[in-house]
Amino acid sequence: MKLTRRALAPALLGMTLKGAPRIEGGFALENVEQGHLLRDRARLMVPRESERVPVVIVGGGVAGLSAAWWLDRRGFKDFVLLEMENGAGGNARSGENEVSAYPWAAHYVPVPDPEAVLVRELFTELGVLRDGVWDERWLCHSPKERLFIHGRWEEGVEPHSALTGEELRQMERFAHRMEEFRATGRFTVPMERGLAKSTEAERALDRMTMGQWMEREGLTSVPVRWLADYSTRDDYGTRVDDISAWAGVHYFAGRQPEEKGPLTWPEGNAWVTKRLSEKLRTRIRTNAMVFRVERAGARWQVFTEGRRYEADCVIWAAPTWLASWVVEPAPPRWPMDTAPWLVSNLTLERWPANKGYPECWDNVIYRSPSLGYVIATHQNVARHQEKTVWTHYWALADGRGADQRRILLGGDWNYWSERVLTDLERAHPDIRQCVSRIDMHRIAHAMPRPAPGMIFDERRRARLRPKDGFAYANCDLSALSLFEEAQYRGVEAAKYAMGQVGRGR
């Protein structure tokens, strides 16, 4: 260690020199260039080989895998799934180091209610649900969530201590109003089920922002606004003043879990997608970027650089907006913006000092621009854990997605790791002494952002109706970036495809 004069003074006073250790790391899973080939309509090699497959699934995220899972379960094996990355999983991919596996994005599935039959079917198959009982190993362990507020950690994510009487009343009124929305049965997962029963009240909600709705309800105090804003950033990567109030309400009113959850794993939802990919591996083609899909007679031609597929039916499980760049004839532009995210996995050689409530699965810092962090090792049953991995989530939620993407991709690793550390330093002043690695994933289009009007928008609803053997399946059709929505859309598309192919024969 080099001793400078500035460092010498405290050394003489007997204080230790605590130079922060060097932190390693970099960006993972970056595939921006390849994606932009599509945007720029680059000339790609026209393949020589061709293959006749009744059903082609484009995109291997949860929607595509679920479509494949459903077909496979019903005994329909004549399909391929084309994934442009080197592994399926999409937003539910994961990484692993010597300390722990960790998620690269989606990291939990809420415990489904009794009506969510598809999710229950899947988890029964995976052994998570047995005879109506959820295996507690996969349910989020205690203690679940905490909030850093007033200089210490407190139990739960909702601010509840040191509120004024008025602030407290607004928090209660907010909770009460959400309970009322839930009771209408019109906010459901999958959302289509409840949406079908919508009245003018729900349409009106969709016409305003969540911020406007709260203003109208007199919910204007800082804690309740923070809670709503935190939630819309968390589920939609969007600020409370930019999001459809219908979507904002859905976050709180959409589910009625039957068990203390959610379901979660160290590697996040990759635990599920890995099992699905393994089961379907003979039908998954990775490193297969689809660059053109065109109608040819009664069939579809699907082009990858290696091979051309002739299909009766295409399930488009890639992001819906991408279709306008790939499919011929090009569908009209998709109206929904997307939110960029930064996901950072921090490897900690030791645990930072803790003040207040103990370390939880979900750890949120009050009034921070980030969404806080999730402890990837939380589901580890060991009593003593020396090292750990934390997954820090940051939705770049201000303003337009395109502007935020420029900021996200403009910052290098030094810039972003510094921002993440500074954010964590609010709650953990000694974090720099603990972290040895920061691996980051910049997700340019992480999730749909339902602006006002999007839920009842005719352009959205038009995509829900499959046509001529082409079915959209991505969860952005629901405007909700949720596992259950992706699965539902995937399965709906698979049902359509099976009907089409069956009819054709």
């Binding site: 003489l12 006073l13 007997g14 204080m15 507690e136 190993r137 349910l139 989020c140 362990h141 205690s142 203690p143 679940k144 068990e259 203390k260 959850g261 103990p358 580890n380 049953v381 060991a382 009593r383 003593h384 020396e386």
Partner: protein, 498 residues
């Protein structure tokens, strides 16, 4: 000028007494028996002061310079005395040797001060006045210090910072003496630099003092501490009072050697004695080897596996002469295999099957420990039991933590066990609870091994009766995703502790 000199006398007298009081107080905190400690410390200290006074006659030249050096040394040694003693107590052996050594050194230095100062002042006053004034102020300083010490210093500053503060005063006297006696000093610069250095060191000590007292938690124990060690997992302290040895982990009492046989006989024998064909036993937790000692009373057992998190714990209880005498050398028996591992993941990874499992974890006072009391854990445990196998679980006090106790019972039920709750009176713990888990209908054994001090067949049956105030209460099951037990436990123990 004159007043400043007399103020010096007053201050160094106060410093001298403070060091003595600190040594006495520390010794009685850490070693107990305050009458003995104070008497011997005061005696040693006064004797050392006598030695110092006698030695003063050998100092013939450069009196002022010597005086300043002595002040600095007294400030340094006295100022850091309680720091050194606390740390030595925690991390080193030979505490008593160091204690009396320090008292001797400080006493000698303090004993040198007044004779030297009187000789320095001799030229300015006549002897009659000098002796009267110096001794008056000396005793006044002592009075001030002895009042200040219990009323202000100990409660507000604590022992470590008080000593450092008075070390600073000693060093301060040295420092201002370099100004007052400027003319008498040949090596002014050196003396002044040394004074600043000592002041700097003591100030740094003040900054650090918080850390020092945190680690030196030994002051908590009123009995003689005979063994203390910090491992990556916990802090182990063994205390002794007469023939009673006690083990504390992180400040929580684990056993008292006077009555632990009641606890360990109850934990092991009701289950074990009912399994005549048992060949393989497992102990989870219980790194002190006491449960293993009881298991070794069954010649039919072919192997005993002990899984404990902390290698230091199992090592010390295998090799330390006193500690291994407490478990009768159980951990070095050739039938015993010691594994240092985390119980839950270890059980998940192993495919071994056992006939009898003793679960002896610390009480569920946090979420990490709480995992070891969940239905998921008991379900996993059941998969490692042979068809007739049994498990005995230490399960906190049904008296002080009644909900917690019955929560463990209910959770074992949810984990698939038939449960047989029982309890024992252990004087150092109070009323203590256990649960026996079986996979079939179970009856208490008709015979017990020889050589038990507490259990016989009749008393054993009575352990399964619960008086109304210990009886079952309505509780939820403790599960990984909803650890109610930690909340029950926290609430219940908070109600009865101050």
């Amino acid at each position: 000028m004159v007043y400043v000199l007399f103020l010096s006398v007053f201050l160094i007298a106060a410093c001298g007494l403070i060091y003595e009081l600190i040594a006495g107080a520390l010794a009685s905190y850490l070693l107990g028996d305050s009458v003995l400690q104070f008497s011997t410390i005061i005696g040693t200290y006064l004797f050392a002061m006598g030695v110092g006074s006698w030695l003063s006659k050998f100092i013939t030249r450069a009196l002022v310079s010597r005086f300043i050096s002595i002040e600095l040394m007294a400030g340094l040694v006295g100022g850091f005395s309680s720091t050194i003693l606390f740390l030595a107590f925690t991390y080193a052996s030979g505490f008593r040797f160091l204690l009396y050594g320090l008292v001797l050194v400080i006493g000698i230095l303090v004993g040198l001060e007044i004779p030297l100062l009187m000789r320095i002042l001799r030229e300015r006053f006549d002897l009659r006045e000098l002796v009267a004034n110096v001794l008056t102020l000396d005793y006044l300083g002592a009075l001030g210090a002895s009042l200040l010490f219990p009323l202000l210093l100990v409660p507000k500053l604590g022992l470590v910072r008080s000593a450092l503060l008075f070390g600073l005063i000693n060093a301060g006297v040295a420092l201002w003496s370099t100004f007052i006696f400027k003319a008498h000093l040949g090596n002014l610069v050196a003396q002044r630099t040394a004074s600043f250095a000592v002041v700097g060191l003591l100030l740094a000590g003040m900054v650090w003092a918080g850390d020092i007292t945190d680690t030196a938690d030994a002051a908590l124990y009123s009995d003689d501490v005979i063994f203390a060690r910090s491992t990556p997992y916990q802090r182990m302290v063994v205390t002794r009072w007469k023939e009673d040895y006690r083990l504390y982990l992180n400040g929580h009492l684990q056993f008292s050697s006077r009555d632990e046989y009641r606890y360990h006989e109850s934990l092991v024998h009701p289950g074990m004695a009912s399994l005549p064909g048992a060949k393989r036993a497992l102990v989870l937790g219980g790194g002190d080897g006491m449960a293993v000692r009881e298991l070794l009373k069954y010649p039919g057992l072919e192997s005993i596996t002990l899984v404990d998190l902390d290698p230091e714990m199992t090592k010390e209880f295998a090799v330390h002469p006193l500690l291994k005498s407490l478990n009768a050398g159980a951990l070095t028996d050739k039938r015993v295999k010691v594994i240092n591992g985390d119980a839950f993941p270890w059980l998940e990874a192993t495919d071994e099957i056992f006939d009898f499992v003793v679960v002896d974890f610390p009480d569920p006072n946090n979420y990490s420990l709480g995992k070891l009391y969940t239905s998921a854990f008991y379900r996993l445990l059941r998969q490692h039991l042979s068809a007739r196998g049994l498990v005995a679980v230490q399960s906190t006090s049904p008296m002080f933590a009644r909900q917690s106790y019955w929560c463990i019972v209910e959770t074992m039920k949810a984990g698939g066990f038939e449960v047989y709750p029982y309890h024992t009176y252990v004087p150092s713990f109070g009323e203590w609870g256990f649960v026996l888990g079986s996979q079939h209908k179970w009856k208490p054994p008709e015979t017990l091994p020889d050589g038990l001090r507490f259990l016989n067949v009749e008393t054993m049956r009575s352990l399964f009766d619960f008086p109304p105030d210990l009886g079952p209460v309505e509780v939820e099951v403790n599960r990984l995703n909803d650890q109610v037990l930690v909340r029950y436990y926290d609430k219940e123990w908070r109600e009865i502790t101050r």
